[in-house]
């Protein structure tokens, strides 16, 4: 497959796997895990295994696995979605066109599955303050889905001490409520949850090692698999053992790279955004000589193993970059810039998402003051290639830095 043949979102994966990274068994395995994540989880569910749709917060994944349930990240449906999903959201559910394209896509996909007898019908919502998702869950409940949505937890700037402890206490209570919903009232299996937390920390450290190796070999894993490595760290694509194996092989491969990369050819960038589905943007970055080496969602923290496992989940949430206030993300991005010696920031948001796009102005101003240029990109969950202008902006930005 040549890049000219790439038409659909899945084609980008196949192109990246076969043409760009044909030399890496590990990247191939990683991309395969991602490609087959949702269909395999749905198949497993149809065959009698337990599975739930889950969000992207991360903390819930060890809890879900500790109950023997497969978490299926609903935003991963984006790359399978076609025009139909979006039009269902806009025409059938009358979502305004400017509503978040991710939410529209996901709702459309759930709609398409609603009459399938053996499709996953339980949704664990934890979108913090994402109002379009909150609305979407209300709508999709009417279609026969069972939805559990957590209350919002927000850690404002400077929240420490007693107030912070109150937040932890609040969130611990939320986690027990999730456990009730997940299992129909079964208590938390503390030992199994500890195992899952230890596993998460182990794999997290391995992924960090890969990120460190990428500083030395920035072009070994290009943008698309680099982003999906971090996505996979969240859910393991439903197959923890296989994901960890892919990570191990990748470390092995990267530790044995003999060629030295001429560092003056590298344009190190920090990706401040989510995944989006406009994979052509990643290709544009690669072709222009950019290397996504730093990330907003970098796993900079470990789960604590010295406290009760439920409290460890809660503390992981309130202590990490997505705890609420955008200043936490800003601080982390600052560390990433320093770590990877970034020449620029790509501030990516999903079209129609005020949650991810407004804070970008604050970050842009902050980093411009420090002499770090940035570009705003609006990604969508649209089907097919990104708009020419989006690619132009991306490439022009990297040309500017080169």
């Amino acid at each position: 497959m040549s890049f000219k043949d790439v038409e659909k979102q899945l084609d980008y994966f196949r192109y990246s796997r076969d043409e760009v990274h044909g030399y890496s068994k590990a990247v191939g395995k990683l991309l395969d895990l991602s490609i087959y994540y949702v269909p395999d989880a749905e198949k497993a569910y149809a065959e009698g295994k337990k599975a739930v749709w889950a969000g992207m917060s991360g903390w819930e994944i060890p809890l879900i696995y500790s109950n023997g349930i497969i978490p299926v990240m609903f935003s991963e449906m984006g790359r399978f979605a076609g025009v139909e999903a979006i039009t269902i959201a806009e025409d059938y559910y009358q979502f305004p066109q400017e509503t978040c394209s991710m939410v529209k896509c996901v709702v459309g996909e759930w709609h398409l599955r609603k009459n399938q007898a053996k499709s996953i019908k339980r949704i664990l919502g934890s979108a913090v303050a994402c109002e379009p998702y909150n609305m979407a869950w209300e709508i999709i409940k009417q279609e026969g889905y069972e939805v559990f949505n957590l209350d919002v937890m927000y850690r404002g700037p400077g929240v420490i001490g007693e107030r912070l402890e109150q937040l932890v206490e609040f969130f611990v209570d939320q986690i027990y409520r999730v456990q009730d919903w997940l299992t129909g009232g079964q208590p938390v299996n503390e030992e199994q949850l500890k195992v899952e937390i230890a596993k998460k920390n182990r794999i997290l450290l391995k992924v960090r090692k890969i990120l460190d190796l990428r500083l030395k070999h920035p072009f070994y894993i290009r943008s698309l698999p680099a982003i999906y490595l971090l996505n996979g760290l969240n859910t393991y694509f439903g197959k923890p053992e296989e994901f960890e194996e892919a990570v191990d092989i990748l470390i092995e491969e990267m530790e044995h790279i003999t060629e030295e990369t001429a560092q003056d050819k590298v344009i190190p960038l920090v990706w401040v955004g989510g995944t989006g589905q406009e994979f052509g943007v990643y290709e544009a970055i690669d072709q222009a000589g950019g290397a996504l080496l730093g990330f907003r969602n970098v796993p900079f923290k470990l789960y604590r193993e010295d406290i009760h496992p439920v409290e460890a989940l809660a503390r992981y949430v309130v202590d990490n970059q997505n705890a609420g206030a955008s200043v936490y993300v800003q601080d982390l991005v600052e560390q990433e810039i320093e770590k990877v010696n970034a020449k620029g920031l790509i501030l990516q948001g999903v079209l129609g998402c005020s949650y991810s796009t407004i804070a970008r102005e604050m970050w842009r101003e902050h980093f411009h003051q420090k002499g770090i240029p940035s570009i705003n990109l609006e990604g969508t969950f649209q089907f097919g290639a990104p708009s020419g202008q989006l690619v132009t902006r991306t490439k022009a930005f990297i040309e500017m830095l080169s």
């Binding site: 990274h21 001429a262 020419g388 690619v391 132009t392």
Partner: protein, 294 residues
Amino acid sequence: MKKFQEVIDDSLIGELSHDTVIGVDIGSRTGKAVLLDGDNIYTAIVPTGVYAQETADKLLGKLLKEAQLEKQQIQFMVGTGYGRVILDFGNIPLQIITEISCHAMGAHYLNANVQTIVDIGGQDSKAIRVDPRNGKVVEFIMNDKCAAGTGIFLEKVANLLDLSVEKFGQEALKAVNPSDISSQCVVFAESEVISLKARGEKREDIAAGIHVATIRRIKNLINRIGLQPDLIFSGGVSNNAGMKKALEDMVGYPVSPVKLDAIYAGALGGAILAQKALLSNAVPTGYKENKYVS
């Protein structure tokens, strides 16, 4: 055909080589190309057809014919513009560079003091800050969210006023009381123009109002990157006298004159970048196999 001395900023002529190169800028409405050969500059322009490659081939044919050159004499090409992605010229080494970088470089060689470029094309508009030391982009911003502020918008309204695109700008210059156009959306602005016509407002006033409304969007782009003189107006809309006046009035600063139609700025920049690529032995970036090369 023109000589370098007739077009290029005097202080930068010495930086150009005598290599034979072409810059091709395939915009959404017109394709432009510039050929540098010896100390000669050739230009060509054609409407963009359905297929970008066909448009590019036409441009190439016109340039080769005028310069009396064979295709194999072209040492390097740079493709730019929205149609750049699919260009292929067989054995001629080709590099694909965005129009933002090309416009900056082209404008720099037309006026070495340029620091700000307003580029309004058929489907988007851009404000670009340029480093006067080297013609590289310092910062840029694009309006690609809305057709208002683009050439296609002006074409649509010109049609509503029964004017050609060329006469639309001239008509605006006659205005005494430009109409107040409040809509910032093409669809609504069209409705507004129809309402203004129905109310009997003068054509020149409506035309001027549309120009002012369009430039209002551009002004926000300029404010974002900061206006630093000299200012150059490039892109297909730069030939519209009404837009130039509206731009100067709105930003309170004159557009610097250049010695080549600024519609060619992107193609000229592409040709200059092609010469630089030759000098630095750059690897062509037209479609290539992506293999792990550290």
